[in-house]
């Protein structure tokens, strides 16, 4: 068919203009640019952590426990004498690694299911809607705790658990966006050509809801980071002695009057990362005119 012949030629052109459009958006939206820069700095710090500090984030040193900020330990040490700055710098690895994996999985699954529901409609959509409502009615923290208890802690389990909890919400948002695209003439045309559901989804629907999916990704990532840190804080996330921000706050909270920096440093790291993600989500949604549908986490 002729459509198949022209497709490979058309695709690069389309993606080039899309990249150009995305760049224009970024340049026009200062909020998005600032947000993405903050996130990029966090990624760089996490990757370059060994170059930025000479301390081992898990090495105990009882003779230097509970020190305040000083020349040797810029952010002081915790109750085991571990360097707080090193733990904060390395802490980004766990937070970012698990969050990125969980968000990618959640948004990818949610997008595919949401698009499929919008495209197929009928009983599939109805049944799916009911099941998602039911899953959403169970408190997400309880679902997370049960999954983690059943399968054991570990990054893979947490990624899976977060996907279970957040996919229904992504499905709702993406389904809503896809429903607006489905009645379009080019989708009807693709159906008339006899294209398969999967290729309509990939080639007609998805390119037209990229903006919604991108905003959803940034917003979802900010919630995933918060949720993972809360899990760690409650003792169901990162296992000690892993350097993790939520875990650090939990460990150093009791000594907060002695070494406030040990709790404050991971809090600042966590807050700046989430502020960056929120700014990115805000800026992108404003630049693209996407309604940020705010639902509870």
């Amino acid at each position: 068919m002729t459509t198949l012949d022209t497709a490979p030629v058309a695709a690069p052109v389309a993606s080039a203009t899309r990249a150009a459009r995305a760049w224009r958006t970024l340049r026009s939206s200062r909020t998005a640019l600032v947000g993405l820069t903050i996130v990029a700095v966090h990624v760089l710090i996490a990757l370059l952590a060994p170059l930025l500090t000479s301390y081992d984030p898990v090495a105990n040193d009882a003779s230097h426990a509970l020190l305040g900020p000083g020349w040797e330990h810029w952010a002081g040490t915790d109750q085991y004498g571990r360097d707080v700055l090193a733990r904060v710098l390395y802490g980004g690895r766990y937070a970012l690694g698990v969050s990125v994996a969980a968000t990618v999985l959640t948004v990818a699954l949610g997008t595919v299911v949401g698009c499929a529901a919008a495209l197929r409609g009928g009983w599939l959509d109805d049944v799916l809607g009911r099941v998602l409502d039911a899953v959403l009615s169970v408190p997400s923290i309880l679902a997370l705790l049960v999954i983690v208890t059943a399968l054991g802690t570990g990054p893979a389990v947490i990624v899976l658990a977060i996907a279970v909890v957040y996919v229904p919400q992504v499905v709702r948002v993406v389904r809503g966006a896809a429903l607006a695209v489905v009645p379009a003439d080019y989708v009807t045309a693709a159906r008339a050509r006899g294209e398969r559901t999967w290729s309509i989804l990939w080639r007609e629907i998805l390119p037209n809801i990229t903006d919604v999916v991108c905003v959803e990704f940034a917003m979802r990532a900010s919630w995933v980071v918060l949720l993972i840190s809360s899990l760690s804080f409650l003792g169901f996330g990162a296992d000690p002695p892993t350097p993790d921000w939520g875990l650090m706050v939990a460990e150093n909270r009791t000594a907060i009057t002695v070494v406030p920096m040990a709790s404050l440093a991971p809090i600042i790291a966590l807050a700046t990362l989430v502020v960056g993600l929120n700014l990115a989500a805000d800026g992108l949604s404003k630049a693209w005119g996407v309604d940020r549908i705010r639902e509870g986490s």
Partner: protein
């Protein structure tokens, strides 16, 4: 309108049945046998088999589900594996304590976010607006345990006004728990209000730009009267709606904050029952939370429709 309400109630009931099945299946999937757990690891196989029979664990899953649901409808959720007391009563006690926090939280969050939202909306793009937007962005970007920790540092350590941890058990009276309610509620309200302020601000800006506000102003009404008569109700409606939809989030936030303050509420019970694999308690909490969530959503939908004439005829909310 009545048929719409009936349809929504029917859908809500269907959702609840489905969530009860999901809850049941999920908890069944937890590793470990209840009978072995009660009797300990050294129990003889005969004793374990006898207890399994007594608890009905040898029956097929759907029969156990039916039995559990029959009990649940009568308020009987079985006995806790840890305290061997009736689960229904225990959950109700903890839930009552949490309701105290939830009530104060909603009160704080609604008043705070409405006032700030109106101030930001009326001063659009001037410094109060920027300040409030920045603060709410920071509020959205810190987890509940951080807000709680900072509050403890300020109001328990630096200024010893409120207790940092609760020393009473779940049976303590509301009067004894009351001093310990403020900090957890404030922590939750800060995070919650951060989200609602933006929504209140947007609706205030929309209303102030509307034609009927211009008319009211041209009639010579004072700004104060315009705000109280037009801006306030319009900011209040979406806020209440959002709060009703955020009950699921509140449950999660309550779990974290209650553990920071050692407050004997449903969140603390949730965590300890998961740690102890107290299956009947986990099931009961999940089911009761699902009921609360579904009822609040139903109330939000019906309430939004009753107050918004445009939705009354359409009948579709999604």
């Amino acid at each position: 309108m009545l048929s719409f309400v009936a349809r929504r109630v029917g859908a809500a009931a269907g959702t609840l049945v489905l969530s009860s099945v999901i809850v049941f299946l999920a908890v069944q999937a937890l590793p470990g046998d209840v009978a072995t757990q009660i009797l300990g690891k050294d129990a003889t196989p005969d004793a374990v088999a006898a207890l399994r029979g007594k608890l009905g664990l040898d029956q097929p899953a759907w029969e156990r589900y039916a039995h559990w649901m029959r009990g649940a409808l009568h308020g009987d959720f079985g006995a806790s594996l840890v305290s061997s007391r009736p689960v229904g009563g225990e959950v109700a006690t903890y839930l009552g304590n949490s309701a105290l926090i939830a009530l104060v939280t909603v009160l704080f969050a609604v008043t705070g976010s409405i006032v700030l939202g109106i101030v930001a909306g009326l001063n659009r793009d001037r410094w109060p607006d920027h300040l409030i937007s920045t603060v709410s962005l920071v509020g959205m970007s810190v987890p509940e345990f951080v807000v709680a920790t900072v509050l403890v540092l300020c109001f328990s350590v630096a200024l010893p006004w409120f207790p940092a941890v609760v020393l009473y058990g779940p049976e303590a009276s509301a009067g004894r728990l009351l001093p310990a309610v403020w900090l957890p509620a404030l922590a939750l309200a800060v995070v919650m209000a951060a989200y609602i302020v933006r929504m209140a601000r947007t609706s205030v800006i929309d209303v102030m730009a509307s034609e009927y506000v211009t008319t009211a102003r041209l009639k010579g009404l004072s700004t104060w009267r315009v705000v109280t008569r037009h801006a306030l109700p319009s900011a209040l409606l979406p806020t209440l709606h959002v709060i009703a939809l955020n009950v699921a989030w509140l449950a999660g936030g309550v779990a974290v904050v209650e553990n920071v303050f050692n407050y004997p509420g449903i969140g603390k019970l949730m965590l300890s029952s998961v740690q102890n694999r107290d299956l009947p308690v986990i099931q009961a909490i999940a089911l009761i939370s699902a009921v609360i969530y579904v009822v609040c959503n139903l109330a939000a939908d019906v309430g939004a429709m009753a107050l918004n004439p445009k939705l009354r005829t359409g009948g579709r909310t999604r």
